[in-house]
């Protein structure tokens, strides 16, 4: 279940929550409804694919073949039986493709009611697909390319005036850009409105974001506005999901720089995040005196930061940092605030002049180490066990302006200063939207595989190299294993090669200007145009995974597999028809076509009969055991059912 947790990590923040009823209900008894919902969406894929292929190829056998493939693929069945995001995503994805194709076929009657209907339905599906998972972006790309091609076609049509063309353009912008974006942001607005409580993930977000969450200590907070000497503060790193500057009683272990107290960045709120701002040259006594006047910290001042719990100073020196070897180590040093000149830091606000005051929350601050000239920053790398897996803090000698080396003051306690309300901080909705996306993208790309971990590679997928264990490990468990029906998947794989071959032949023939009968012309149009559209979809949903650095799973291939199945339907139908045309007597032709079609369907049915236990669950010994009923079906060593 960890896998689903990982994949669903994003979606936890994502637009799927309308479907995710509160967690406790799902835990208890109501999960049948949720599963039913997912399974319903999953079964909608079949008619969608059927209609799409029918619309594209105008051929019933092709559509039927596609439908059979999708009905009897064990992978699709398994995937849509559980509460996963994938059936929802694939539902919207196929919805978008279907309505796009429908809309294209109504191109001869533009601006008719059904044209408008299908166009706006495309937009709605796009919004849905985007809201479920980021993979939905690929279908947006597909629809976008199709629209550009469409518009280019219209532009070349000289019988259309430029005004009409402008209307076409506007209609598409409205339905395919404005409408989905509006829906998408609306989903997010609802999301923020529903989830307005503070939760365990707060530390990932910036101070401004947190102030919007009820229950967070920054919500409706009133704190002193300007930073003064003697204030107790927390400092938050400005990189996305950066932590608070933190220290604790533990020392760096031997062999890791100087054996002084650790300074780290910590994502959670903690008393050890508190620091006291002191002047570099005066001791603590006169600051705690309530009668002394308040002195504000100004841009360019040289300060000392004392850790409140341990009374050690923030310190750096020319020892190498624990993980980022080219940076300097940052430690806590000194006893009761007495340290040395390596404890001095110059505080600077980005984009301000000397002498200006420093604002809590709003000023973006840089701390320069006076002795070595390096800048306090968080490298974003996680320390090993000795550092409690907190994030490394270093002093970087590379004077680059990155969020890694910028901080803001978040909490601010100073009894001598008046508190003001910080509602001014309220970020706009656009900012919230942007930030939550940044955090999601970071979280997404942060799912890097570890060195020795065996991960699924994109090239494994089309050959059905390895499945995904859904439940049950041991012999006695009820096991479900996500694996595509190998016959279908290998058929799909062969078909892609076959399609390329047919396309090249057809394209060369057309390029050579070979005279074709009307039937052949229609066929080659289907092959080139419809097949091309579907192949483009397959490529768009498959190739990007090769460039992703994150952890990948087998189920990422399923959207591409839908396209691949549709291509199989179209290609085999076209191939059989080509054969039929060349065997001219119509009786044999029909026989060849019918026979081929029947053979394919029977093959699919039989393979489903063989492999159906994969998705409906199996009990008994593992397949690697020769006594298991599934032993004969373990065609590849890498399958583990």
């Amino acid at each position: 279940m960890m896998l689903i947790g990982l994949a669903g990590y994003l979606s936890g923040y994502d637009g799927t929550f309308p479907f995710q009823k509160p967690g406790d209900r799902y835990e208890q008894h109501n999960y049948i409804g949720m599963r039913g919902f997912c399974a319903f969406l999953g079964s909608c894929l079949v008619p969608f694919a059927y209609l799409t292929v029918l619309e594209l190829s105008k051929s019933l056998p092709a559509a039927l073949l596609t439908a059979f493939i999708l009905i009897f693929d064990t992978g699709c069945i398994t995937l849509s039986q559980y509460i996963l995001l994938d059936p929802i995503l694939m539902f919207f994805l196929m919805g978008a493709v279907l309505s796009m194709v429908k809309c294209n076929s109504r191109a001869d009657r533009p601006f008719s009611a059904s044209w408008w209907f299908w166009l706006s339905l495309t937009g709605v599906s796009l919004a849905g697909a985007m809201g479920v998972k980021f993979v939905g972006l690929f279908v947006v790309l597909l629809v976008g390319l199709n629209t550009i091609y469409d518009l280019w076609d219209l532009l070349g049509n000289l019988s259309l005036s430029l005004v009409t063309f402008g209307k076409h353009l506007l209609a598409r912008v409205l339905c395919l850009i404005v409408l989905p974006l509006a829906l998408y942001t609306a989903v997010f607005a609802v999301h923020f409105a529903v989830l307005n409580r503070s939760g365990p993930g707060d530390g990932f977000f910036s101070s401004a974001f947190q102030s919007q969450l009820i229950g967070n200590n920054l919500h409706n907070v009133s704190i002193p506005e300007h930073l003064a000497y003697g204030s107790v503060v927390t400092m938050k790193n400005l990189r996305m999901a950066g932590g608070y500057l933190h220290s604790h009683w533990h020392l760096y272990p031997e062999g890791v720089g100087a054996r002084q107290q650790q300074v780290t960045a910590y994502l959670h709120k903690d008393l050890n995040n508190l620091w006291i701002i002191k002047k570099h040259d005066s001791d603590t006594a006169d600051l705690s005196d309530p009668s002394s006047p308040v002195e504000f910290v100004r841009h360019g001042d040289i300060i000392r930061l004392e850790h409140k719990e341990t009374s050690r100073n923030l310190h750096s020196h020319q020892h190498e940092a624990p993980l980022t070897r080219k940076h300097f180590q940052v430690t806590g040093y000194g006893i009761n605030g007495t340290g040395d000149s390596n404890d001095f830091w110059r505080i600077e606000v980005v984009g301000r002049k000397t002498g200006k005051l420093i604002k809590v929350l709003r000023s973006r601050v840089r701390l320069t180490h006076v002795a070595t000239g390096c800048i306090l920053g968080s490298s974003g790398k996680t320390l090993p066990k000795w550092g409690w897996e907190q994030v490394e803090v270093t002093c970087t000698p590379y004077l680059k302006e990155t969020p890694n080396s910028l901080w803001n003051f978040e909490d601010h306690i100073n009894p001598k200063l008046p508190n003001i309300s910080l509602d001014v901080l309220k970020p706009s909705f656009a900012e919230i939207l942007l930030e939550s996306h940044m955090v999601m993208i970071r979280g997404n790309s942060g799912l890097k595989p570890k060195d020795n971990e065996v991960t699924s590679k994109p090239w494994h997928w089309p050959i059905n190299y390895q499945g995904l264990r859904f439940s049950g490990v041991n012999e006695t468990d009820y096991r479900v294993y996500l694996l595509g029906n190998p016959v279908i998947w290998w058929l799909n794989l062969i078909t892609i090669g076959l399609y390329l071959l047919i396309t090249v032949c057809t394209a060369v023939a057309l390029k050579r200007g070979v005279q074709l009968t009307s039937e052949l012309k229609e066929l080659s149009r289907v092959v080139l145009h419809a097949g091309g559209q579907i192949t483009l979809g397959w490529l768009l949903h498959y190739l990007p995974f090769f460039m992703m650095g994150r952890v990948l799973y087998f189920h990422h291939y399923f959207p591409a597999m839908l396209f691949s199945s549709m291509l199989t339907g179209i290609t085999w139908d076209a191939l059989l028809r080509f054969c039929a045309v060349f065997l001219s007597p119509s009786t044999t032709a029909r026989k060849v076509h019918g026979g081929g079609f029947l053979a394919l369907v029977l093959l699919i049915l039989y393979s489903f009969y063989l492999f159906h236990p994969l998705s409906y669950g199996m009990i008994g010994p593992m397949a690697s055991n020769p006594s298991s009923p599934m032993a004969g079906l373990r065609w590849m060593d890498s399958w583990e059912f």
């Binding site: 532009l155 000289l158 590379y398 570890k450 020795n452 490990v473 890498s638």
Partner: protein
């Protein structure tokens, strides 16, 4: 008889004085004062060590790219009589007398200089005027960044040279195509395209982008050829069929010729680079460790010295060391020692308290294990030896402590999901020994293969629990002496190198001294394993290592992001004189870079405009001008795009010099756009003369910028701090100013 004397002997030579003058100027600008500074400049510190290793014939792996570029640099060293004795450790270090600085830097400088005439010729072959060609060549000539980059022992200028050569030869070939296909020069240029492409790829993988661009262009041109209807519509149906078949044959010939020159020959050349590389470097060296045992054994010295003459087939009673195939984070050998696992770990979990089994990165007597037949007691090789085959069950006995390798259902110290692996100590509690392992040879050819030293990759599957012996990659805490953890992996998903081991050192056990001679008499056929490893096997391994090896350092003081390059917001300080303010920077000619950006923008906008208008059947420019515009843009703007845009997807550390190939193409675009503006958009005479005046003014500004920044390009004369400050035209430039 003497009829041939009736005609005079005539030699007509046509010399393009422009071209010659440009070449001479380029040579002067690149070669002038080449030995200065006589110190290590920037990445010379990196490439220099490889040159030294070549001189000493020591094997190395460089993950930054294929070996051809390194070999060219080493060729310079070889011609200069370099002996390789120089410690490349610090930028700015003075060269000792034995380093032939001039000849080491000569090849990159020559390559950089020849880019200038190449640029001229490319523009001519794109059917632009000689005036435009002259402009392009001058811009390349006066480009500070290209000069800096080509005056040192660096690879970019060589790369750019080969890229431009490939483009030029393809254009020459394409222009010959129309009237004289399959003639001598047609073949010459076609083959040269392929050769230059593979050289470019061989220098740096960046060359791949241009290679793909040219392949795509060739594909497109061939596609047009297929559609060429001229031949097929000549005459009546009878002869039409004849012509058609003739045409098909010639089409096939064209296709085969292109495939040969543009795909097969480059692949062959690429392989040959590696062949030469491996033939030159036959000694073992510091990078041995990342290669497999078999590869290491093929190098002179190092592992080969140990493994020479050891028996090939592992038999019952063999004494072996087992190396993990993964080699990450370090290479290590299966190891055990008398210390036991602590009873309780820091986090409170318990252990079996049995003897530790780890993976140890150094050679040690504790790395020796003895293969034992479970059914017999003896630990020596019988006579004749009984080889171990795939699927056999064995016990592994630790040589020094004579304890058995064991695993059981106890969580491993750092990877609780896996089983602990230990050497079994009988504490007389209810925990029996489970020390049977099945040997599975991963790279077997048949199911009865014998387990071979070095060559066989083996998995050890535990018989009781079917766990697989695996290196987890984590390193143990103090109690385990920070050695690497070894676990039994229960859920072994597929093949992973961390679960695969190979025998490295091997001898037949002969613990009973009196039998020593006897065993030696019956020693098996010895074989030299190095001869067993074919070139292709070595190539595949080396290539794979180059592609997968990753340097950890991801930050550099002068690293930049791809976005900074277009506006040149960044620079790289290459060298600083130890005492004076003389310094060398990689800095482009600001005027050229700005106008190149403008040209790219204008090209893009105009193309879009033309395209949209043509779609509505409005033709602003004549058809041949349009074809010219498209083909020139395809090469220049296309070259810029393919050499630049991929960097946005890369995760490695990027530097400004990665942009130089792209900027070279972008510069070529400037005269293309200017000539188009002059020919087609400035319709009146007044506009035309204004344009020429502007061009002259602009060229002088380019020259002015070149002169201004030449102290930073050539490193001399030394500038004073105020002068340096005046050169800091952008705040983001990092020009080094001494404080005193």
């Amino acid at each position: 008889m003497l009829g041939f004397l009736k005609e005079p002997v005539v030699v007509t030579a046509e010399i393009n004085v422009n071209l010659v003058a440009l070449t001479v100027l380029a040579l002067i600008s690149r070669l002038w004062g080449l030995c200065y500074p006589r110190a290590v400049v920037f990445d010379e510190v990196y490439y220099g060590q490889f040159v030294s290793l070549y001189m000493k014939r020591i094997f190395f792996v460089d993950d930054s790219g294929p070996p051809f570029g390194h070999m060219l640099l080493a060729l310079g060293g070889y011609l200069g009589g370099f002996d390789g004795n120089f410690l490349w450790n610090r930028i700015g270090a003075e060269y000792s007398m034995n380093v032939p600085v001039w000849s080491l830097r000569l090849l990159p400088a020559l390559a950089g200089a020849f880019c200038v005439p190449l640029a001229y010729q490319i523009l001519v072959e794109l059917h632009f005027s000689h005036c435009a060609a002259l402009g392009a060549a001058l811009l390349i000539l006066l480009e500070n960044s290209l000069i800096t980059q080509s005056r040192f022992m660096l690879l970019e200028s060589i790369l750019i040279f080969f890229i431009l050569l490939a483009v030029l030869s393809y254009l020459k070939f394409y222009n010959l195509q129309k009237h004289s296909a399959f003639c001598g020069s047609w073949w010459f240029w076609l083959l040269l395209t392929g050769v230059a492409c593979s050289c470019a790829v061989g220098v740096k993988y960046m060359g791949l982008f241009t290679y793909l661009l040219l392949l795509a262009t060739a594909g497109l041109h061939f596609w047009h050829m297929i559609g060429d209807q001229n031949l097929s519509n000549v005459c009546s149906t009878a002869c039409k069929r004849y012509y058609l078949s003739l045409f098909m044959v010639s089409l096939l010939c064209h296709f085969l010729a292109r495939a040969l020159a543009l795909i097969i020959i480059p692949m062959g050349l690429y392989l040959s680079f590696f062949y030469v590389h491996l033939a030159l470097l036959y000694r073992s060296g510091p990078h041995d460790q990342i290669m497999t045992s078999a590869f290491q054994a093929s190098l002179e010295g190092g592992l080969a010295r140990i493994t020479q003459g050891q028996p090939l087939e592992v038999a019952y009673g063999s004494q072996i060391t087992l190396r993990n195939v993964l080699g990450k984070p370090v290479q290590c050998w299966l190891h055990s020692h008398t210390n036991t696992y602590p009873i309780r770990y820091e986090n409170g979990r318990g252990s079996s308290h049995q003897q530790q089994v780890t993976c140890y990165p150094f050679k040690d007597v504790n790395n020796w294990w003895i293969v034992k037949d479970p059914g017999m007691q003896q630990l020596v090789v019988s006579n004749p030896p009984r080889p171990v085959r795939h699927g056999h069950i064995v016990q592994l006995v630790h040589g020094i402590t004579t304890r058995y390798l064991n695993t059981h259902d106890v969580a491993a110290p750092l990877s609780p999901h896996s089983q602990e692996v230990s050497c079994y100590i009988d504490y007389n509690i209810s925990m029996p020994a489970q020390n049977l392992w099945r040997v599975e040879i991963v790279n077997r050819e048949s199911d009865t293969d014998v387990w071979k030293t070095i060559l066989s990759e083996v998995r050890f599957v535990h018989v009781n629990t079917s766990a697989v012996l695996k290196l987890s990659g984590a390193s143990l805490p103090e109690w385990g002496y920070r050695q690497l953890e070894v676990v039994g992996e229960k859920l072994s998903k597929g093949y992973h190198q961390s679960m695969v081991w190979n025998v490295e050192e091997h001898r037949y056990g002969k613990s009973q001294e009196q039998k020593e001679r006897e065993v030696e008499l019956h020693s098996p056929t010895q074989m030299d394993i190095s001869k067993n490893l074919s070139f292709m096997a070595k190539f595949t391994e080396l290539q794979w290592k180059i592609l997968t090896l990753k340097n950890e350092d991801t930050e550099h003081k002068y690293s930049s992001s791809a976005l900074d390059w277009v506006t040149m917001d960044t620079n790289i300080a290459y060298w600083l004189h130890p005492t004076s303010g003389a310094q060398i920077h990689l800095l482009g000619n600001v005027a050229t870079w700005a106008s190149a950006n403008a040209a790219a923008l204008i090209y893009l906008c105009l193309s879009l405009w033309y395209l949209l208008r043509r779609r509505r059947r409005i033709y602003d420019i004549p058809e041949d001008a349009w074809q010219l515009w498209v083909s020139a843009g395809g090469i220049c703007a296309g070259g810029w795009a393919v050499n630049y845009l991929p960097f946005f997807l890369m995760e490695k550390t990027l530097f400004l010099y990665h942009y130089l190939p792209a900027v070279t193409f972008q510069i070529l675009l400037i005269p293309v756009v200017l000539q188009h503006l002059g020919d087609h958009l400035c319709r009146s005479v007044l506009l035309k003369s204004m344009l020429s005046a502007l061009i002259v003014a602009w060229f002088s500004s380019v020259y002015f910028v070149y002169c201004t920044f030449s102290p930073l390009t050539y490193g001399q004369p030394a500038l004073s701090p105020p002068e340096l400050r005046a050169l800091r035209w952008k705040d983001t430039w990092n020009i080094l100013i001494r404080k005193h």
